[in-house]
Every structure is written in C-alpha cells, then in structure tokens.
Symmetry: C2
Subunit: 335 residues, 2 copies
DNA sequence: TTCGGTTCGCGAAACGTTTCGTTTTTTGTT
DNA sequence: AACAAAAAACGAAACGTTTCGCGAACCGAA
C-alpha cells in the first residue's frame, strides 16, 4: 500500500542504499537530490519507522510519566514537552500512575517494553530505587519537579524554596508576623521545599514561627478550603496566608469569599500557580507563578541532548525561577 | 543485548517458528510450553514490537488527539482511555492541538506517520473534511464528546441536551421562570446541545425565554466570572442560573461569593462537572456530573473492537447519561 | 497392525530499513 | 589526456519477527 524506499529507487533509477543515504542526510548529486525529492513528493513517501527502528534500535518515541493526568500543572508541562519533541519527530507516550508507587513501577516497565528512546519522569518520593534501576538501564532519563537524593540524574526543578522565601518575605516586609502557610504533603519534595523557604525567611528575619500557623494539605481543592478555615479559627488568626498550590488556592478563595473575609483588610493573601485566578478575584490576587513552559521545554531539550549521545555536563541540574506577581491582595500592618 | 526469539529457540531446542507460534497463542506440547515459559523467564524475553510490527503492520500504538491538555475534563478522559488500552498492550500517544484547526490537522498527520493502529479524536467543529479524510484512510477512529454531522463514524457522546433539560427542569419545577444560562461557544457541539436542552424545556413547559438571560462564554474561568455578573446586573436579574462547564462554574462561584450573592436565597444555582466543588461550596452546590470514566472506557473499548476488525454495529453511537446531583443550592420561589 | 486424520514442529521467505565494504563516477591536477 | 584522489552509488547482509506450506509424529478406529 504505502510507498517504500524501493518505489523511490525504481522511480529514480537509483539504488536503495542511495535513497537511504539521502534520507539520512548523506551527500547526493544535485540532480539526484531533485529527482529523489520529486519521487518522494509524488509517492507521498514516509519512512517506515518500524523498519528503521528495527535496524537502528531507536523508536523515536519517548515516555512521559507523571503522577496524575488530572492536575493542570502536570499536564501543562506535558503539553510543552510534547510540542518540542514533536518538532524533532519524536512521539510522546504519556502515562500517569495515579500517585500509586506500584503503578509507577508498572508503567515504567511498560515504557521500557515499548523501548522508548528516553523518559521524562516526575517521580514519587521514597522511590529512589526505582529511579536507580532506570538509570542502570542506560535509557536517557530526565526527572522533573521532584528531586531524588543520592542519585546522579539530569533534573529540571523549580526553585521552590526561594519562591516561598520571596513570597513570605513580601509579607514580612509589610509588617506581617502571624503568617499562615497551607503547605503540601510532607513527603513530597516540592512541598518540603516550599515549607523550608517559609521557615528560612522567618529565621533570617529573626522571627519566631507559630507551629499552629503551619497546615499540611493534600494539594486538593478541598483541603485548601478546610485548612484556610482552620487557620482563621485560631484564637489569634494570621494576618496573612500563603497557599502553596493551585488547587488549594482555589479552595482557599472559596472559603474566604464564603466567610466574607476581606482581602486584604482582614487578611493578606498569596496564592500559587494560576494567573487566571489572579485576574478574576477581586481584589487581584498576588501569586507565585511557576515557569511551566520553561520546565517542559528544558526537560525536552535536555532529553534530546542525551538521546543524541551528548553527555556533557552530566548530571545537569536546572533550577528555574518562579515569578512573584504582586497585586492588590497585600496590605501593610503595624507589627 | 536483549534476548530474542532465537535465544529462546536455542535454549529450548525448538525452532524459531514454534516459539513464535507459542507467543501468538498457538498450540504447543505441554512439555514444550513449560520449557518455553522457563526460557522466557530466565532470559527476561520481551517481544520486539518493532520487528513484529514490521511484519504485521501493527504498531500496538493508538493516538489520542484532544483540543487541549490544560483542561481536566479532557485529560481525565484520556487517563481512562489509557488505562484500558495499556491492559491490552497498547501504548497511547497523547497530543493536543491547542484548539487550533491547523494544528489539529498537523498532529493528525503526525499520528498517521507514526502508523498508529487507531485514533481517538475530540474534533473541532467545522472540520468535517478532516474527519472524512481520516475515515478514508481506514484507520479505526472513534470520536468523543463532539459529533460531526454527515459522517459515519463511531462516536461516544454525552447526552448533553437532556443533561441541560433535566437540570433546568428542576429549576422550573421549583417555580423559577427567569433562569440564566451561561453557555459555551456557539460553534462547539456540546455547547449547542446544552443550550438546546435549556430551550427545549422552556418550550415544553410553554414558557417564554428572555434572550438577555442567555450568555455565551468561552469555557474559561474568566468568562464564568464576567457573565455571571452581567446576568445579575440585568434590570430584572434571574432567580436561578445554570452554568455549563467546570471552569465557568468556578468563575461564577467566585463572582457570587465576591458579591455576597446568597445561594440559594438570592439565586439558585446549578453548575457543571466537578464534584469537588459541590462538596466545598457552602451551601453544597447542585451540579451536572459527566460520566468521565465511562466516556474513556467506552471509547477505548469501541476502538479495541474496531482494531480487532470487528465491524459489527458500525457506526456505533454511544450516548451516555449525565447525573444530576441535587444539593442545597436550589430554592423554591413562587412563580 | 495399518491407515486416515490431527496436531505439532520446521525451514525459508518476507517485512522496509541501515550499514559496510566495494565499485563506479566525478573532479582536479599535471 | 591521463591519472590519482575524492565523492557518489551500489549490493548484500542484517535487524527480530510472522507466516505458510510441508513433513513428522501421534492418535484412535477398524
């Protein structure tokens, strides 16, 4: 059905190997080049990637494995990775493991069985061994968003610690001392970092932290809602709150509005991740914006580099900066 | 490096073709079967899908093409499709086309170049020709969520019309007559259907529709926010509002809370898609819930059927029912 | 025991490429 | 015009499977 190299050879009167050479960027007589291109046009010839892969042991396929496909932050990154890789002719197999370590392993195995040329992984914590076995298999691997300790591996991170530091610092500068934080699950790397930033800035300013103002949620809308209310029910409620992911920011906003908490008069507020929210909510929210596009692009580029056998600079740790959008949700208080 | 059929043959003393037969479910002597399985174990043998594909013209890969990877409704469906297909050994290449018709065509072409065995597509409107060309190529295709007219094709839909009908009917039953709707873009199939349901139930009850209460948004948070406020600024504001997707529901909720509109006293409210929201918002929201899991599973199953050359019942139109969760956001009024 | 019918196993060709060593053509120099 | 060197084209083998037609082995019935 579909045209093969043979058809092109026949049409042009050249040999199969010459066509192959052309296809792979080799030199060919000008006249022949034109002829070949003409043939490719008329037959609408496409290289059969499977035949090629059989010879070369490359599939032109990369696997992307993320914790969940139901989280916009993750899928936006995937979207960007995919765009870049597609330009280079790679297809992207996207899998999620629904935050389940067993599934993470299974899906990773699946990707190996499919002989992907490279893998982008957003790993679970406590699964160092898994990552180690991947590395042992020599398949290029780029981690994103979450760091695994004691393992040499290319990784693209966000500087979550300083993201928090800067956000909370802005609150401190404005005189706030009782600052609540709605942090993420304790075993997740990004959540740990975001909390560390909060703690460090307090230390740097020589201020004391009230443990009652630190709340751990599960990164879902519902816990944002619940924890914000818990914070406000404190006998000495915070004058400012910093929420550390998108879903919990939505939850918090809903709680705030429901309870007629006035921003920024009753409470100064800094949220996370989504510019839309910042625009909509009145008064405009201040938020920490992650460089989603850059994360995806960087991960894709590092992976491409490794897949082309370029090992320079290994392991490459890219730490991207967040942006702090200051809007109208912050107020000065006397401290 | 990796073990091949040859290694298994050597180990067992059988011929390559016998091993192949076993691998493809053929009959083999009990003793040999055990021997082969033992060999496969010890070598950790995996069929080379590329070699197999070269012979059989199958890639064991399906393409899923959706408008955007940044929409939870879409990606949840993808997640479910992927789970089912993976069980059957298929990998899923997920692409999005960022709501851009040009890109839709390009990515579809890309999937063809990758010789996927099947495609799940959530198409743009006004692109009937694209779908027709896909069908002409004989690659199994399942459409989801959006119908294309004048084209015979398997499709998995949600009964959006009756979803709206039932939702709005509940409002009418409770005495509401001025019911606002925040509908989607006019050229999107699901949006049209959801609006039709609204219109039909008014007709069936012999009520008149006030065009000022019909607002068209773009399915984004921001337009939900804006349009809800527009509705309420009407000189005769609605007593109830029905919002037709997730993002706009969030936007509306934020607007409602910001403006201290009391639900259900000032306004009865029915939203769309997300159970989380229903739980969080006080009072609990009534919402239309789409059967996301079923959509994905059904699409995957129909596609599997077609990929195994089973053409029974073509074209299969599956129309799934939504669920209407009635909670505390509805109030009776005298009409 | 023999024979027909099944079941199982085998060998070889084929799928569409790439690659490598060799041959042919082109180019440049004298 | 002749020759060497460089460039281009060629032919064949190989990648790891499936498939198909045959032959071998086995079974039960007569």
């Amino acid at each position: 059905m579909a045209a093969t190299i043979k058809d092109i050879a026949k049409y042009t009167g050249l040999s199969i190997s010459t066509i192959s050479k052309y296809l792979n960027g080799g030199n060919v007589l000008e006249a022949n080049r034109k002829l070949i291109e003409e043939a490719i046009q008329t037959f609408d010839f496409k290289v059969n990637e499977m035949a090629r892969g059989l010879r070369t042991n490359r599939t032109m396929t990369v696997g992307v494995l993320i914790p969940s496909l139901e989280n916009i932050f993750f899928t936006s990154i995937v979207s960007n990775i995919e765009s870049i890789l597609l330009k280079e002719g790679y297809s992207t197999i996207v899998c999620d493991y629904k935050e389940d370590p067993q599934l993470e392993e299974k899906k990773l195995q699946f990707l190996f069985d499919k002989m992907v040329d490279g893998i982008v992984l957003m790993p679970l914590p406590d699964n160092d061994n898994l990552v180690k076995t991947v590395i042992a298999r020599k398949t290029p691997l780029v981690l994103i968003d979450r760091l695994i300790h004691n393992v040499d591996c290319d990784v693209v991170l966000v500087d979550n610690l300083n993201a928090s530091y800067n956000a909370v610092e802005q609150l401190i500068i404005r005189g706030h001392r009782r600052i609540g934080i709605i942090a993420g699950p304790q075993n997740i790397y990004t959540a740990q970092e975001r909390l560390k930033g909060y703690i460090r800035v307090f230390e740097d300013y020589g201020l004391k932290i009230d443990p009652a103002l630190i709340k751990h949620g599960d990164y879902q809308i519902e816990s944002g809602h619940k924890l914000l209310l818990e914070l406000m029910e404190n006998e000495k409620p915070p004058t400012a709150v910093y929420v550390t992911n998108y879903e919990m920011t939505i939850g918090s906003i809903i709680a705030i509005n429901e309870n007629n908490i006035r921003i920024p008069d009753d409470l100064s507020f800094i949220g996370f991740d989504n510019q839309d929210l910042a625009r909509i909510v009145k008064p405009a929210l201040s938020i920490v914006v992650q460089p989603v596009q850059q994360i995806g692009e960087t991960a894709a580029q590092v992976l491409l580099k490794r897949m082309s056998k370029d090992q320079r600079g290994f392991p490459l740790v890219t730490r991207l900066k967040t942006e702090l959008l200051i809007r109208d949700s912050l107020k000065k208080v006397e401290s």
